[in-house]
């Protein structure tokens, strides 16, 4: 009897995953613990091992699908049971769209045996009975129409595009005569869906008067010079995160500059010692420490807004996300409990996480739970940038290149090692004065790192 492979809880607080790539085909024989599918959650891709040995008779979800945890994603039959019938339509189809209740088993089983509901016969023993329910309609198959004609009015090209984008044509509002769905309608719908944060119902997504996303149209004559790629995987997660950040925070910027001359000197001095300890010392650990000190002084920067409960969550722990550019896209691994770690420890951990990120080997717990984030633009060379908040954090600090610049000090022009700092903060939680003072505090600590030593806890 085929067993269902369920999408497991990949990490705490993760409720869904995107099926990135099937690693086996229907009909393939899989060994226990053989990776069968790549699943992405919160920017991390993991390979799911098969919970048992057998023949993968049916994939229940398609690549690109985003499915809640505990959703059956495949059926695996015992060896010798090849070609067993697919379970009755109701069971598989009904399970997929809703969030399944967490299983009772404490050790998070990946699968559960069927409970006799699904009649699965060995196909070579007896003839199939006449009649019976039709097989399940896959998600992208046309459903019964919802209008009085019993069939959605749509031009054939729109139907095809909808299928390609995995959209039910019934959902797409048509702009043609009598509500006919046109190609542009499908495209616009797909874009609005991609832009909305996952899980938000269509109706509740945007307040009245909220304009729909701009429909993209190829300038005529340039059709052959464009290439299209589906918005999938990490890019889609990033897009969703960014839209959520852009739409649901009130991002405000404050800028200041730091005289890093002493900090540069300190690092030069400590570098050989750090190297002796096997650590390549950058400025980042010092900045981490200064940020945590400043966060302790201005706790409102270390908060999140729980919109559902209408409460501001003040965090007494200091987990710093650090933006890392990788080949696949931006990820933000998190260094936990920065306040309890030494500069050396932080340097080592930052390097390890960055390497893991670039190798695509971050675990789900590596990218969750940040309370504040830092993005280091200096390493690439931009003069100045306006970072976007890593939601649900309240703020993000942009760190830039240290450069020799002329500054006026005690009435004279001197060359100092200067760095711009840009702080993006959510004005719902943080006011401008607090943000400016927070930034000043970081500067105060970093301009004379000795103070950092004195005040660091």
């Amino acid at each position: 009897m085929p067993k269902e492979v369920l999408l497991p809880e990949l990490a705490e607080s993760i409720v869904e995953g995107e099926i990135v790539k099937w690693l086996v085909e229907e009909g393939d024989y899989v060994k226990k613990d053989q990776p069968i599918v790549e699943v992405m959650t919160d920017k991390v891709t993991v390979e799911l091992p098969s919970p048992f040995e057998g023949i993968l008779v049916k994939k229940l979800v398609q690549e690109g699908d985003v499915v809640p945890i505990h959703t059956p994603i495949a059926l695996i039959a015992e060896p010798g049971e090849e070609g067993a019938e697919v379970p009755a339509p109701a069971a598989a189809a009904a399970a997929a769209p809703q969030k399944a209740a967490p299983l009772e088993d404490e050790d998070r089983v990946l699968f559960k045996p069927e409970e006799g509901k699904l009649e699965v016969k060995s196909p070579f023993k007896e003839a199939a009975p006449a009649g019976g329910a039709p097989p399940p309609a896959p998600a992208d198959a046309p459903r019964a129409g919802t209008n009085k004609y019993g069939r959605v009015l749509a031009v054939p090209a729109a139907r095809k595009l909808a299928r390609e984008l995995g959209i039910a044509i019934e959902e797409v509002p048509g702009s043609g005569p009598a509500g006919r769905v046109r190609v542009e309608d499908v495209r616009r719908w797909a874009e609005s869906r991609a832009a909305a944060p996952a899980g938000a119902p269509a109706a509740a997504r945007a307040p009245a008067g909220f304009p729909p996303p701009v429909a993209y149209k190829t300038p005529s004559g340039y059709e052959a010079l464009e290439e299209r790629k589906p918005l999938r995987g990490l890019r889609r997660v990033i897009a969703q995160q960014m839209v959520a950040s852009h739409l649901y925070t009130v991002r405000t910027l404050t800028v200041d500059e730091l005289d890093a001359t002493e900090l540069v000197h300190l690092r030069e001095t400590l570098k050989p010692e750090a190297e002796a300890a096997g650590v390549k010392l950058s400025y980042l650990p010092f900045i981490f420490k200064a940020v945590v000190q400043a966060l302790k002084k201005y706790p409102v920067l270390n908060t999140s807004l729980d919109e559902e409960k209408q409460e501001i969550v003040f965090k007494k722990y200091y987990n710093l996300g650090m933006a890392v550019a990788t080949e696949a896209g931006l990820v933000v691994p998190v260094i936990k409990d920065v306040d309890k770690k030494t500069v050396l420890e932080l340097a080592r951990e930052a390097r390890e996480l960055a390497e893991k990120a670039r190798a695509g080997k971050l675990a789900p717990e590596d990218v969750t739970g940040s309370t504040f984030s830092i993005t280091n633009i200096g390493s690439i060379g931009a003069l100045f940038s306006f970072p976007i908040i890593n939601v649900p954090d309240a703020a993000i600090l942009g760190v830039h290149t240290i450069q020799d610049r002329p500054v006026v000090k005690d009435g004279a022009i001197v060359v100092r090692k200067m760095m711009y700092l840009s702080l993006s903060f959510d004005h719902r939680l943080v006011d401008g004065a607090e943000a400016a003072m927070f930034l000043r505090e970081i500067i105060r600590l970093l301009e004379s790192p000795g103070r950092l030593m004195l005040e660091m806890r």
Binding site: G27, G131, P135, K148, G176
Partner: protein
């Protein structure tokens, strides 16, 4: 053992479309055929009947030309030559399919496929494995109790094609569907006296009754007798011929004929597939979803095997869908299927008839235009028939089109596009149709929905 991505069993319209499309998409494809490539359609269905209907049409035209002073000598009909020409057309097309197989890299193996598992078949002692199996085994004529096919006295459509065996003086056709009426037209033109018996109360059950009426009148004028609401109970052979017992609204009667054609429907060739554990419906058709996937993963069913309507163009599209789904593409069958009866005049329909729309509770506005008011039809001596556009009264969305008349089979394609595009009657009306053509009738019928047809009085 040879390994493939996809094996198609049966190379009728559905099967060869599946095979070619699969190969186009880069799947290693094997097609299995136990009879002739092209299946029923190319060999004993669509194509040879249309060849014979063409002969019937030319014969009629030669006769009707006398109206404008052009007369032909009755040279007689060489049945052997007609049969040879019919076979030549068929051969060209089946050869074409084989050429396309070769050109696309589809392997063809001849013989009966024995299905060992959803992934493995045997043909002529050789085993073949594939990731996907497409069943396209088609259908065959249904026998009526008391009228078993012997293809001598009681013919199936396949036997009826063999006109080279002689044209009976008197032919009884059981069933006034597309197949029965097309053969009634052929045999009548070739000289038989033809009686058509139908159990339902109109010919072409399900078709627009008004259109069916026009067709019935034309058939009667050509000399075909039609008995609706009549049942054939059985027959005995005597020296007079085949004495067929009929029972109808006026009681029982005996009809003496020389041959009987049974055309009461077709049944799926699904018997050889039972071991797979496929879900079948009560008529034995294989149940699939819109992606042609059966209840057994990796196994697809298409064409007549999958059920009504048993039409080649439906099978073709289904074949394409099966191949695309097997290749991992998001494909599904969700089109409207036009239907055509190649009688004289032809009948064609797409979408809903007026009656079907009303049954669904839709308020409809019907536009109609008669061929008698179409200049081109008159120059062709073909004034029988009309075009009917069924539109939603409120939105004017074209829900269906029925045509009875010359070239209905060709004109329906434009109507199919209109229905598929969700066009309004206005869209058809506002599209300029060349003059003088039969196609103007569709434009005018659409205009009549808005009471704006020019060549008739809009009522």
């Amino acid at each position: 053992m040879k390994e493939y991505d996809l094996i198609v069993i049966g190379t009728g319209p559905g099967g060869y479309h599946a095979a070619i499309r699969a190969a186009q998409l880069g799947l290693k494809t094997l097609a299995v055929e136990k009879g002739e490539v092209g299946g029923v359609c190319l060999n004993v269905g669509c194509i040879p009947t249309k060849a014979l209907l063409h002969a019937a049409k030319v014969k009629k035209l030669a006769k009707s030309a006398a109206e404008f002073g052009l007369s032909f000598q009755e040279e007689g009909l060489d049945l052997t030559k007609l049969a040879a020409w019919r076979d030549q057309v068929t051969k060209k097309l089946t050869g074409g399919v084989e050429f396309l197989f070769k050109g696309n890299g589809v392997e063809l193996v001849r013989g009966e496929a024995k299905i060992l598992s959803p992934r493995e078949i045997e043909v002529g002692g050789e085993r073949y494995r594939a990731k996907h199996l497409v069943l396209a085994t088609g259908s065959r004529p249904i026998e009526l109790p008391g009228f078993s096919f012997d293809e001598e006295r009681v013919l199936s459509s396949t036997g009826a094609l063999k006109i080279e065996r002689g044209i009976p003086e008197r032919l009884l056709v059981l069933g006034a569907g597309a197949i029965g009426l097309e053969f009634a037209t052929i045999y009548r033109a070739l000289g038989s006296e033809v009686v058509v018996v139908e159990l339902m109360d109109q010919i072409l059950p399900g078709a627009d009754p008004e259109a069916a009426n026009v067709l019935a009148r034309s058939l009667k004028r050509a000399g075909v007798e039609i008995k609706t609401q009549t049942k054939a109970e059985g027959f005995e052979a005597s020296e007079k011929g085949l004495e067929v017992r009929l029972s109808g609204p006026k009681g029982e009667a005996t009809l003496v004929v020389d041959r009987i054609l049974v055309a009461v429907g077709r049944r799926p060739n699904s018997e050889g597939l039972v071991g797979l554990g496929l879900t079948l419906d009560e008529k034995g058709f294989v149940v699939t979803d819109e992606r042609m996937q059966t209840s057994v993963p990796g196994v697809f069913a298409i064409g007549d095997l999958r059920g009504a309507p048993l039409l080649a163009h439906k099978a073709m599209k289904e074949g394409i869908v099966a191949a695309e789904v097997a290749a991992g593409k998001p494909s599904a069958f969700d089109q409207q299927i036009p239907s055509v009866v190649y009688t004289d005049p032809e009948y064609a329909s797409v979408g809903l008839t007026e009656a079907e729309a009303r049954e669904k509770g839709i308020a409809v506005q019907v536009g109609k235009f008669p061929y008698a008011a179409n200049g081109r039809a008159l120059t062709r001596q073909e004034k029988d028939g009309f075009v009917k556009v069924v539109a939603d009264a409120e939105s004017k969305v074209v829900l269906g089109v029925q045509i009875v008349g010359p070239e209905a089979s060709e004109l329906i394609a434009e109507a199919a596009l209109a229905v598929e595009m969700g066009a309004l009657a206005d869209d058809l009306e506002l599209t300029i149709h060349p003059h003088p053509t039969l196609s103007e009738s569709l434009m005018e019928a659409a205009a009549n929905v808005n009471k704006a047809a020019i060549h008739i009085l809009n009522k």
